[in-house]
């Protein structure tokens, strides 16, 4: 197992915390993260995350602000890599930037984009239901 420039292993363990930074205020309610926050990008068919938990908080927000760029950073969804794998998706390290990882393996069906979307939404809802919302 190799070590990445961030010092983390190149293999994401099931017990690792992942953070999905939320730059849309409509991607969460007062207490919960919405499924839309986890849907994959149509550009690379992946969901971008950082390998970081809720603590240390200052470091989390520093990574989030860097990821958000000029956008507002409202919150982060924190969840275990195990949840992603239990939903039949994969999570792999993807540096740079440091601590970056991607969730891949989303159902993709060019012939029926709505059915593909319905499948993705179900998976996203499962992940969202087990994620913790951390407001900034």
């Amino acid at each position: 197992m190799a070590t990445l420039p961030s010092g983390l292993s190149d293999s994401v363990s099931d017990e690792e915390d992942l953070a999905r930074f939320l730059t849309q205020s409509s991607h969460f309610t007062a207490t919960l993260v919405k499924p839309a926050a986890f849907l994959p990008s149509p550009r690379d068919r992946e969901t971008s995350v950082s390998r970081h938990g809720s603590e240390p908080r200052e470091e989390l927000w520093a990574i989030g602000l860097s990821a958000a760029g000029a956008r507002n950073l409202y919150a982060a969804a924190i969840f275990k890599a195990q949840i992603v794998r239990a939903a039949q998706l994969e999570v792999v390290a993807d540096e740079p930037p440091p601590r970056h990882a991607v969730i891949g393996g989303w159902p993709w069906d060019e012939a029926d984009p709505e059915l593909q979307k319905a499948k993705q939404k179900e998976i996203a809802a499962v992940i969202a239901s087990q994620a913790d919302l951390l407001r900034r």
Binding site: Q24, P35, P42, A118, V126, S129
Partner: protein
């Protein structure tokens, strides 16, 4: 020059007169009593429609604000597609078509340019409907340990019954976060 009387003012005058008649107590004949009851029913219907319209108008305003917020590529920093104006059009049609008794959803942009209409009761009780440029609707739900997904077609005016049933199955024990009729 006298100010022209607008239709709105005429309607308002008619409403006030009808309301006064409906709440008055001077009518004593059977016919007058029946007319007063009919006027009361009409007033109640008008007021209910106004309340409904107000809630839906607010929801539609939220949708339009979302469209403006996400009217450019990469609005999320992760490569999202701009919200498709046809998705907003379809989502507005769905909001207008929601029957009485179905709560209004919350809205969220999706990275492929669609809009998500969400009825979220708790972590494990939620219904999420994706509205894009086509009239085929992708949806998914979590209901305790039960979950699933499906696709239904929206004709532009009537929401498919199984979608309504799915929403009601989730919200029947509570209310959605935005509003309830």
């Amino acid at each position: 020059m006298p100010e022209p009387v607008s239709k709105v003012r005429l309607c308002l005058l008619g409403y006030v007169a009808l309301s006064t008649y409906a709440t008055g107590s001077s009518a004593i004949s059977v016919e007058a009593s029946a007319a007063r009851k009919a006027a009361s029913a009409l007033i109640e219907s008008v007021e209910r429609s106004q309340a409904l319209f107000g809630e839906k108008a607010a929801a539609i305003s939220q949708l339009r604000a979302l469209a403006i917020e996400c009217n450019h590529e990469n609005w999320d920093g992760y490569g999202a597609t701009m919200i498709d104006p046809r998705a907003i059009f379809n989502a507005e049609a769905i909001v207008r078509a929601l029957p009485i008794g179905v709560p209004l959803p919350e809205f969220a942009p999706e990275p492929d340019g669609s809009v998500s209409l969400d009825w979220i009761q708790s972590r494990t009780r939620q219904f999420s409907l994706s509205v894009g440029r086509s009239q085929r609707l992708a949806y998914a739900w979590l209901d305790g340990t039960d979950r699933g997904h499906a696709v239904a077609t929206f004709d532009g005016s009537t929401i498919p019954p199984r979608v309504i049933e799915g929403i009601l199955a989730i919200v029947k024990n509570g209310h959605s976060a935005i509003g309830t009729f």
